[in-house]
C-alpha cells in the first residue's frame, strides 16, 4: 500500500465509523429549540383559575417533589388565567399549556362547542359518526364549591337570613330599591359572574327554566338586566380580587357579592372579626367544579405534539389530586373534596359547626340554558352593563423614553381600547408631560374615533417633566362637564415618574375629587420603580378606586385587566 492508498483506507474507515455512528443515533431525538411562545415539551403546563391557582401551585410543588428523579415524568407548572382566556387560548393552535383547570365545567362546554363548530365539516354531510374530534379528554374533578351570594352576617340577617329564603330576585329587588345597597359580581369571564348575569336574564325573561335565545334578547329582558346591572357597585375581575379590595378598602365597600362558598370560608378564617355568610339562592345556583382536563393535540393543527411523558404526568397528577392526604388539603382550603369518604363535618373541617355555610345546600340548581343562550349572555354583556365614560391619562414625560416603556404602554393602550365594546361606552385620551399635550375629550367609541385614538397612541412621544395632578384634574373636569351620573365615570391614570410640574397640589385635587356632582373612580398605575406611588395611592383611595404597581413585563396585562371593570 502506498501513502495515497493508506490515506484512502483511513478516510474509508472514518466514513464507516460516521455511518455507523449515524445509524446508532437514529433512534435518539435531539430537542430542537422552538420560538419562545411554543409550549415547553419538558413540563406539563396547567392553566388554572386565579382562585385555584395558589392551592394547585402548592399541590403541584408537592407532586414534583415526589416525582423528582423518576423517569418518564416532567414537572407540573401552573399558569394563572381567567377561564374565558383559557378557552380562547385552547381554541388556537399550539396553546402554551397542555391541560386546563377552569372554575366550572361550563367552560369546557364552551370549548367543546366552539371546537366542534370549527371542525363540524369533518362529519357534516357524510355518513361518519356525528361525534367530532375532541379538544380535551379525561376531565378529573378534585374540588368543588357552590356559587353563593356572600353577605355580611348583619346584612343577611336584616334580609331574613337564615329563616327566610333569599334568592337572586331578592338581591336584585333590594339593589333596585335601595340606592345605598352595594353589591358586585365578578366579570363574566368567571363562572360566578356568568351565573349571576344568567340569573338576571331568567328574572328579566320571567321564566325559571327554558330560557331561549329569543327570550334572552327581547327588549324587556335586556331592559330588566340593564336596570339590575346599573345597581352594581363596580365591575369586578376575579373573586380573589374582590377579597383583596375588601381587605384594603374595608368591609363598607360592599354589602354583598357573588362568589364561591370557599371565598366565604377563606375570608372568615383570615378575618375572624367580620363574618361573611353564604346565602344559597332559592332559585338555584351553579357549582364551581374545577374540572382538570388534558388538551388533545392534533398533528394537522398543533405543531407541538403532546409527549408520552406529559400524558403520563397528567394521569399521575390527576390521581395524586384525589389522594386522601391531598383531598384533606383541598378541604382545609375551604373546598368540598371529591373524595366522598371525607366527612365535611369531621374534626378540623372548615364546615364543622360553622353557621356561615351549610354543607347540605344547595338544594337546587339554576338550569344552564343551551350554549347559544350562554353565548348571548357573554356577547350582550356590553349592551346590558352600565355604560362607562373612561378617560385614559397617560404620562409621556422624558423618562418614558427609558428602555421599552413607551412601546409597551402603546401596546397596552391599544389592548385596553380593544376591550371597550359597549355601544354606550365613551372613551377619552389625555397625553401629558409638564403640560397636557393632547385631550381628545370623551366621545362615543365608534370606528372613526377609534381610528383617531389609535393614530394618537401610535404617535406618542416621550419628552418633558411630569404634571400628573393637573392632568387628573383636567380629566375629572371633563367628566363633570359630561354630567352623566347614570354611567360609571372613571379615570385610568398612569405615570412612571415623580410629580414636578403641576400648578395645583394633591390636597386640592383630593378635595375636588370628592366634591363633584358626578362620582368619578380613579384607577392609578405606578409604572416602574421611580413612579410617585404616594400620589397614585391617594388618588385611588379617595375615589374608591384601585392602585396598581406595574412593570414593563405586565403593563399590557394590567391595562387589559382594568378594562374588564368597564
Amino acid at each position: 500500500m502506498n501513502t495515497r492508498f493508506s490515506r484512502l483506507l483511513i478516510i474509508l474507515g472514518i466514513l464507516l465509523v460516521s455511518t455507523a455512528c449515524g445509524f446508532s443515533f437514529t433512534g435518539s431525538e435531539t430537542p430542537t429549540p422552538g420560538p419562545a411562545a411554543t409550549p415547553d415539551p419538558n413540563a406539563l403546563a396547567i392553566a388554572a383559575s386565579p382562585e385555584m391557582s395558589p392551592l394547585l401551585g402548592k399541590l403541584a410543588e408537592q407532586f414534583n417533589n415526589l416525582q423528582k428523579g423518576q423517569s418518564g415524568f416532567v414537572p407540573v407548572k401552573i399558569l394563572t388565567l381567567s377561564p374565558a382566556d383559557m378557552v380562547s387560548t385552547a381554541l388556537q393552535p399550539d396553546p402554551v399549556f397542555q391541560a386546563l383547570n377552569p372554575d366550572s365545567s361550563i367552560w369546557l362546554s364552551k370549548l367543546s362547542n366552539e371546537w366542534g363548530l370549527a371542525f363540524a365539516n369533518e362529519t357534516a354531510g357524510s355518513d361518519a359518526f356525528p361525534i367530532s374530534r375532541q379538544r380535551y379528554s379525561l376531565p378529573q374533578r378534585f374540588a368543588t364549591s357552590p356559587v353563593v351570594i356572600a353577605m355580611w352576617e348583619k346584612v343577611a340577617q336584616a334580609m331574613g337570613w337564615p329563616d327566610q329564603p333569599i334568592g337572586w330576585n331578592t338581591l336584585q329587588e333590594r339593589a333596585s330599591q335601595d340606592a345605598n345597597f352595594r353589591w358586585n359580581h365578578p366579570s363574566t369571564a368567571y363562572a360566578s359572574g356568568l351565573l349571576s348575569t344568567l340569573a338576571e336574564f331568567y328574572a328579566g325573561a320571567g321564566v325559571n327554566r327554558g330560557l331561549t335565545e329569543d327570550l334572552a334578547i327581547q327588549d324587556t329582558t335586556l331592559e330588566y338586566v340593564k336596570k339590575v346591572e346599573g345597581t352594581v357597585r363596580f365591575y369586578g375581575e376575579s373573586e380573589s380580587a374582590i377579597l383583596e379590595r375588601l381587605k384594603k378598602d374595608g368591609t363598607n365597600l360592599l354589602d354583598a357579592f357573588v362568589a364561591q362558598e370557599q371565598i366565604v370560608l377563606r375570608w372568615n378564617s383570615e378575618n375572624p372579626g367580620q363574618r361573611l355568610v353564604a346565602v344559597y339562592p332559592i332559585e338555584g345556583t351553579l357549582w364551581a367544579d374545577y374540572p382538570l382536563a388534558l388538551l388533545e393535540r392534533y398533528a394537522d393543527f398543533d405543531p407541538t405534539p403532546l409527549s408520552s411523558a406529559q400524558r403520563d404526568t397528567y394521569y399521575e397528577f390527576s390521581k395524586f389530586l384525589v389522594d386522601d392526604s391531598v383531598q384533606q388539603q383541598v378541604l382545609a382550603g375551604g373546598y368540598r373534596p371529591v373524595n366522598l369518604s371525607i366527612d365535611l363535618q369531621s374534626s378540623g373541617s372548615p364546615f364543622k359547626d360553622n353557621p356561615s355555610v351549610d354543607a347540605l345546600q344547595p338544594k337546587t340548581t339554576l338550569p344552564v340554558p343551551p350554549y347559544p343562550v350562554i353565548q348571548v349572555i357573554e356577547d350582550y354583556r356590553a349592551y346590558i352593563k352600565k355604560p362607562t365614560n373612561v378617560i385614559l391619562v397617560v404620562d409621556t414625560s422624558g423618562s418614558m423614553a427609558d428602555s421599552s416603556k413607551l412601546p409597551r404602554v402603546q401596546t397596552a393602550l391599544t389592548a385596553f381600547m380593544g376591550n371597550i365594546k359597549g355601544k354606550n361606552d365613551r372613551l377619552g385620551l389625555i397625553d401629558f408631560s409638564d403640560r397636557i399635550k393632547y385631550n381628545s375629550g370623551v366621545q362615543s367609541f365608534d370606528a372613526s374615533f377609534k381610528n383617531t385614538l389609535d393614530a394618537r397612541v401610535k404617535s406618542l412621544r416621550a419628552e418633558g417633566n411630569t404634571a400628573v395632578i393637573d392632568s387628573v384634574l383636567e380629566a375629572y373636569n371633563t367628566l363633570q362637564e359630561l354630567n352623566d351620573p347614570l354611567a360609571i365615570n372613571a379615570i385610568v391614570v398612569m405615570t412612571d415618574g415623580k410629580e414636578n410640574a403641576s400648578r395645583t397640589n394633591i390636597t386640592n385635587l383630593e378635595r375636588v375629587l370628592t366634591q363633584g356632582k358626578v362620582p368619578v373612580v380613579v384607577f392609578s398605575i405606578a409604572f416602574g420603580k421611580d413612579a410617585d406611588t404616594g400620589i397614585m395611592k391617594r388618588l385611588a383611595e379617595v375615589t374608591n378606586g384601585q392602585f396598581r404597581q406595574a412593570e414593563t413585563f405586565n403593563i399590557e396585562e394590567l391595562y387589559k385587566l382594568i378594562s374588564t371593570y368597564f
Binding site: 483511513i10 455507523a20 359518526f129 329564603p165 354543607a359 343551551p370
Partner: protein
C-alpha cells in the same frame, strides 16, 4: 508506514462493526413487541382502550397481571390501559385516528416511520357495549372489505361484565312521585318534568323546585344515546327501533320536551358521581348505569344524607363491556395472543369476584352477584337492586343509522 495504516484501518473497521452491532442490539431492545418483528422478544407490550365504567377494575387487574409476569410465546406480557369513553373511541375508529396501515402496505417490510406510528396502536378495545364494536366495524368494512373486530372465532369479542341502565331516584323524591304516578318509567319522568308547579304540584316539598331528571349527555356518554333508544322503546312499546320510528313528529316532540327538561353540567360522563358530589342540585333522579350508581351510593349517603332507590325500566339496555381484539396487521400475532391471555385473566373467577366490588355483574356464569361480602349487590340490597333482573324486555341493538340520526337530532334540537 504500511503496517501502521493496516492496523489503523483494521481498528476502524472493528470499531464500526462494534457500533453497528451494539446499535442493532439496542434497537431490538428498544421496542419489544412493536411492529412486525420476526424475532422472539423477551417482552410484549399491549395497549388496551378501556371504557370508563370498568376502567378502575380493569386497570387494577392489569397491575396485578403485570406484577405476576405472565408469559405468552416466551415473552413477558405488559398491559397498558388507556381510558376512553366508548363514543370517543368510536369516533376515533370512525376517522381512523389510530392510523391503520394503507391497504397495500406489506406487513413484513414496513418502513421505520410506519413501525413508529404503530407503537401506540391499540391491541384491544373494551367498549361500553357490543353494538359500539359493531358500529366501529362499518367504516373498516367499506375501507378494507372486512371486519376488524370479530364476532366469532378465537378473537371474537367477549363480554367481560354486564350492567343495565336503571332509574336512580332519591328516596324522598321517589316516595312523592309514586304517590302520584303508578310506577317509575319514561312516561312518569316526562310528565313529572313538565309539571309547571314543580314539586309543590307533584306532592313533594315546594322548595325542591321543579322535578329535575338527569340523562347522560349523548355527545359525551353512550348512556345518553341508550337512554333515547330506551325511551323510544317504551314510547312505541317496541324493542326494535328504526329510523322511521324515531323520525315521527309526535315522538320527536315528546322527546324534545323531555330532553329540554334535563339538567346537568353538560360535560360530565359520570352522572352518578355528579349526584354524589352535587346532590339534589344536579337532579332528583335519572337514568344511570347500575354499576356507576352502586359505586356512588355510599358517597350520596355520606354527603347528602339521602339514598337513591333503584327501579328497573321495562325496556332495558345493557352495557356488556366486550373485550374486542383488533384483527389486522397493525398488531403482531404475539400481541393478539397476549391480549387473549389478559382477557382470560379478567374472566377468571377471582377477577370476576373483584368486579362485584365495583357493582359490575360478572360475565362468568360461575360467579354469582352475591359471591363476596364486599359485593355492592349485597350492600345495597335494600335500595331495590335485583340480583337477577326481572325486567322482561331488552332493547335490540339499533342500526347505525338510528344512532346517527338520534345524535344529529340531539345536536340540532337540544344543543342548539
Amino acid at each position: 508506514m504500511r503496517t501502521r495504516s493496516k492496523v489503523i484501518f483494521a481498528a476502524i473497521i472493528i470499531m464500526a462493526l462494534v457500533i453497528v452491532g451494539v446499535s442493532l442490539l439496542l434497537n431490538q431492545g428498544a421496542a419489544p413487541g412493536s411492529g412486525l418483528t420476526v424475532e422472539k422478544p423477551a417482552e410484549v407490550n399491549i395497549r388496551i382502550l378501556s371504557a370508563i365504567p370498568v376502567e378502575t377494575w380493569v386497570r387494577e387487574t392489569a397491575a396485578q397481571y403485570n406484577a405476576e409476569k405472565h408469559k405468552v410465546g416466551g415473552a413477558v406480557v405488559h398491559v397498558e390501559i388507556v381510558t376512553m369513553d366508548g363514543l370517543i373511541a368510536l369516533s376515533k375508529w370512525d376517522k381512523d385516528a389510530f392510523g391503520t396501515l394503507p391497504a397495500d402496505a406489506d406487513p413484513l417490510n414496513l418502513t421505520e416511520e410506519q413501525k413508529k406510528s404503530l407503537a401506540d396502536f391499540p391491541t384491544a378495545w373494551i367498549a361500553d357495549s357490543r353494538y359500539l364494536v359493531e358500529l366501529a366495524n362499518v367504516p373498516y368494512k367499506t375501507r378494507l372489505g372486512r371486519d376488524v373486530f370479530l364476532t366469532d372465532g378465537e378473537y371474537r369479542a367477549r363480554p367481560l361484565a354486564i350492567s343495565p341502565m336503571v332509574w336512580g331516584i332519591y328516596n324522598s323524591r321517589a316516595e312523592a312521585l309514586l304517590n302520584k304516578y303508578p310506577e317509575i318509567n319514561w312516561r312518569t319522568i316526562h310528565d313529572a318534568a313538565l309539571v309547571k308547579g314543580g314539586w309543590g304540584e307533584l306532592g313533594g316539598d315546594p322548595t325542591w323546585g321543579f322535578f329535575k331528571p338527569v340523562i347522560p349527555n349523548p355527545q359525551k356518554n353512550i348512556g345518553g344515546l341508550e337512554a333515547m333508544v330506551s325511551a323510544a322503546g317504551e314510547y312505541y312499546n317496541n324493542t326494535r327501533i328504526d329510523v322511521d320510528l324515531i323520525s315521527q313528529k309526535d315522538f320527536q316532540a315528546w322527546l324534545l320536551e323531555l330532553m329540554k327538561a334535563v339538567t346537568g353540567l353538560g360535560v360530565s360522563s359520570y352522572t352518578a358521581e355528579d349526584f354524589a358530589l352535587f346532590g339534589y342540585s344536579v337532579g332528583d333522579g335519572g337514568l344511570l348505569l347500575e354499576s356507576d350508581l352502586l359505586q356512588n351510593m355510599q358517597g350520596m349517603q355520606n354527603r347528602w344524607e339521602d339514598n337513591m332507590n333503584i327501579y328497573y325500566p321495562q325496556f332495558l339496555t345493557w352495557h356488556d363491556f366486550p373485550f374486542a381484539v383488533w384483527v389486522g396487521p397493525e398488531t403482531t400475532a404475539l400481541q393478539k395472543n397476549a391480549a387473549i391471555d389478559f382477557e382470560q385473566y379478567l374472566l377468571n373467577d377471582p377477577q370476576q369476584q373483584r368486579a362485584l366490588a365495583y357493582g359490575l355483574r360478572p360475565a362468568n356464569p360461575n360467579v354469582k352477584v352475591d359471591a363476596t361480602p364486599d359485593s355492592l349487590f349485597v350492600k345495597w340490597a335494600g335500595q331495590g337492586v335485583e340480583p337477577i333482573v326481572k325486567s322482561p324486555t331488552s332493547m335490540k341493538n339499533p342500526d347505525r343509522d338510528v344512532l346517527t340520526n338520534l345524535l344529529r337530532w340531539y345536536e340540532l334540537n337540544v344543543v342548539q
